[in-house]
C-alpha cells in the first residue's frame, strides 16, 4: 500500500507524442481507473508505471521514490494482464510462486504464501493443474493470485476482465472490489468499459488522445463531466447533448431547443450559477442525463411537481426489463429517456414528459468545456 504520483509524464515515439503531459496523484489505498477509448494512451501509461515502457519526460514516483530508472521487478508492483499471461509450462502453484522463486524466497515460505493466497481465491484444489486445464474465470483468479502473493505496493490491472463472458465479468468485478476493500491496496486499473470504471473506482481518470480529460470521483465524472467528450463517454445510455440557446425568462433563464425549422421547445430553468447566467442569449450545448426525463401520465393533473413539462414524440422504445429506454424528439432534437418499465408508449405517440433540470450541465459550443 503506497501512494503513486505521475508528474507531467510524456511519451514520444519519434516526433509522435502519444502521452501529452499526464498529471495524476494517487493516495495510498485508492482505486484509480484509467478509462478511455482505444488508442488514448491508458495502457501505455500503465506500462510506464510498471516499467515495461520508458518515460520520455516527467517522473513516476511510487511511495515517495522516483522509479523512472528502476527495473519492473524493483518497483514493488504487481500486474494482472488482459491475457492473464500465465506461464503455460508451469502448474498453478509454480505460476503463483515464480515471482518469489526469482526473488530467492525460501521454499517453505513460498509454500505458505501460496497456500494463503490459494485459500483467499479458492484455488486450493487447482494448484497442481496447468493453465490449459483451467476455465477462463479460474485463469483470471490465478493471475490475481500471482499478483496478491507478493504483497506489492501497487496493483496494476490491464483490462483484466475483457476476455471473460458477460456474467463472469460482473462476478469478477465484484470480487475485485471486495478484494480492494479487504486489502486496502492501491490499485491502478485500465479499462475501456465505462461501467467497470464507474463501479470499481474511487477516482476515475478519463483519457482521450494522450490527454487527461477529467480526474474525479465517479459521481463527479458522471454528474459534472468536464467536457462533451466525457459527457458522451461515461454512462450508458450516454448523456443527451443538444445544441440550445439560453434565453431570459422573466427573472430566470430558459433553455430553447430548436433544430432547423422544427417547432421549438422552451424549458424554464431553476436558478443557475453566474457562469451559466453569463451565457444568457448565447448558444450552449445542453447536457441532460436520460434519467432526468420522465413520463407524465395524463391523469396526473396539477400534482405540485415543479419540474417543467415538455411535449415530445416517441421515435423508438427499447425495453431492457429494469427500465425502458425511449428515443424522443424534442424541439427537433433526439433525446434518450430512461422511463419506467411499465409505460405503454409506442413509436409515433405524442406524450408529455417532465424534465428535471436541477442536474443540467451546459458546455461552451466552441471549447466544448463545462461552463461552471
Amino acid at each position: 500500500m503506497a501512494s503513486l504520483e505521475i508528474k507531467g509524464v510524456k511519451k514520444r515515439y519519434g516526433t509522435h507524442e502519444i502521452l501529452k503531459g499526464i498529471e495524476i496523484s494517487v493516495e495510498a489505498g485508492e482505486f484509480l481507473v484509467l478509462v478511455g477509448p482505444s488508442g488514448c494512451g491508458k495502457s501505455t501509461l500503465l506500462n510506464m508505471i510498471a516499467g515495461l515502457d520508458t518515460v520520455s519526460e516527467g517522473d513516476i514516483v511510487i511511495a515517495g521514490r522516483r522509479v523512472n530508472d528502476f527495473h519492473p521487478s524493483e518497483r514493488d508492483i504487481a500486474m494482472v494482464f488482459q491475457s492473464y499471461a500465465l506461464y503455460p509450462n508451469m502448474t498453478v502453484e509454480q505460476n503463483i510462486a515464480f515471482g518469489m522463486e526469482m526473488r530467492k524466497v525460501p521454499k517453505p515460505e513460498r509454500d505458505a504464501a501460496v497456500r494463503d493466497v490459494a485459500k483467499i481465491l479458492q484455488l486450493d484444489h487447482l494448484l497442481q493443474r496447468r493453465p490449459s486445464q483451467l476455465s477462463g474465470g479460474q485463469r483470471q483468479r490465478v493471475a490475481m493470485g500471482r499478483a496478491l502473493v507478493r504483497k506489492p505496493k501497487i496493483f496494476l490491472f490491464d483490462e483484466p476482465l475483457s476476455n471473460l463472458d458477460a456474467q463472469l465479468r460482473v462476478d469478477m468485478r465484484t470480487e475485485i472490489k471486495k478484494l480492494h476493500q479487504r486489502l486496502g491496496a492501491t490499485i491502478v486499473y485500465v479499462t475501456h468499459d465505462q461501467i467497470e470504471a464507474m463501479t470499481l473506482a474511487t477516482r476515475i481518470a478519463v483519457m482521450k488522445g494522450g490527454e487527461l480529460q477529467q480526474l474525479g470521483t465517479p459521481a463527479q465524472v458522471y454528474n459534472r463531466p468536464a467536457n462533451t467528450f466525457v459527457a458522451g463517454f461515461m454512462g450508458s445510455p450516454r448523456m443527451n447533448l443538444a445544441p440550445a440557446r439560453l434565453q431570459r425568462n422573466g427573472d430566470g433563464l430558459a433553455l430553447e431547443i430548436q433544430m432547423g425549422d422544427r417547432p421549438k421547445a422552451q424549458i424554464p430553468l431553476p436558478p443557475q450559477p453566474p457562469a451559466v447566467s453569463a451565457y444568457a442569449g448565447k448558444e450552449v450545448i445542453a447536457g441532460v442525463r436520460a434519467e432526468a426525463i420522465s413520463y407524465r401520465r395524463a391523469s396526473n393533473g396539477n400534482d405540485g411537481d415543479a419540474r417543467p413539462i415538455v411535449d415530445a414524440t416517441i421515435e423508438v422504445t427499447e425495453p431492457t426489463g429494469a427500465d425502458t429506454l425511449a428515443l424522443l424528439t424534442l424541439g427537433g432534437h433526439e433525446f434518450t429517456a430512461r422511463l419506467d418499465p411499465d409505460v405503454e408508449l409506442r413509436s409515433g405517440d405524442k406524450a408529455q414528459f417532465r424534465i428535471d433540470m436541477s442536474k443540467l450541465v451546459c458546455f461552451d459550443p466552441q471549447t466544448e468545456r463545462l461552463i461552471s
Binding site: N47, A50, G51, L52, H71, P72, S73, I77, A78, M79, F81, Q82, S83, A85, Y87, P88, N89, F98, G99, M102, R103, R146
Partner: protein
Amino acid sequence: MPEPAGIDSRPTGDTTMQQHWDTPEMAQGKGSLRSRVVIYGLLGFFALVYLLPLIVMVLTSFKPLSEIYAGNIVALPKQWTVEPWVSAWETACVGLSCNGIKGYFWNSTKMTVLAVILSTLIGLLNGYVLTKWKFKGANVLFGLILFGCFIPFQIVLIPMAAFLGKVGIASSTAGLVFVHTVYGLCFTTLYARNYYIAFPDELVKSAMIDGARFFNIFWRILLPNSGPIIIVTVIWQFTNIWNDFLFGASFSTGESAPMTVALNNVVNTSTGERPYNVHMAAAMIAAFPTLLVYIFGGRYFVRGLMAGSVKG
C-alpha cells in the same frame, strides 16, 4: 406407431457423424469402384517406382557377391547373409586403412550432435533477442541473417578454409562443427524468430515484473514452450549436417572425415571385383540416422511447421 426406417436409423451424436463423413461412400457415392481402382493403382505404381532403389539396396546388401554378379538385381537373395553389413562396419577399406566405416560413423555422430545442439541453441537465442528485446535495426539485422540462407555452400569454401587454418582447427571435427554451426545459424534463427514472434509478449513482461532477467526468461519461460520449433530445427539441422558432403570433403582429411566422405571413399577405393553388397550396406548405415530422425520426429516436424499458422 413405428418410426420410418430412414429417420430411426439415422446416426446420431458427434462421433457417428464424424465416421460417416470419413467413409468414402459418403463423398463419392456408388459406382466409383472403377475410379478408385485406378487411383490406388496409380498410387501403388508410383510408390513402387519411388521405393525401387531402396529395395534394390536392401536386397543387394543381404546377398553374397557371387549372387549379385550372377543374377537379377531385384530378385530376392537365395542365401541371406549379414556378412556385407559386418564387413562394411568392421573391415571395409577406406583409402588405405581397412578398419570399416565405424570410426567415420562416430565422427559424423560427434560432429552432427554438437553442431545441431550449438546451432539450435544459438538460433533460439537469436530469435529470442530479435523478437523480445527489439533494438534499433533488429529487422535489418534479421534481414541480413535471412540473406545468409541463400548463400550457396561453394561461395564460403575458400574464405572458410583460410579462416579455419588461421584459427588452427582445420581438418578436425571441431572445424566441421564450427562450419556447420555457422552455416546453420541463418536457418535456425529464421525458424526461432518466426516462432517467437507469435509468442505472447505479455508472458515476457509478466516474467520481468516477477523478477526474471534476460537468461531466466529464456530458460524458464521461452525454452520450455519451444518444443515444436526445437523439433523442427533439430530435424532440419540433423539431416542437413549428417548428409553434407561438400563441407566434409573440403574441411577434413583422412581419419577426421565424416561418414558421407568415407562412404565415397569406400566406393572409390575398391580394387578388382567391386563388393556392391558392402557398398550398399555402408550406404544403408550412412542413411540410417536420418531415417530414424524422420520416423520419430516426422510427425512433430509437420506439426511444428504449422505451429502459429493456425490458432489453437
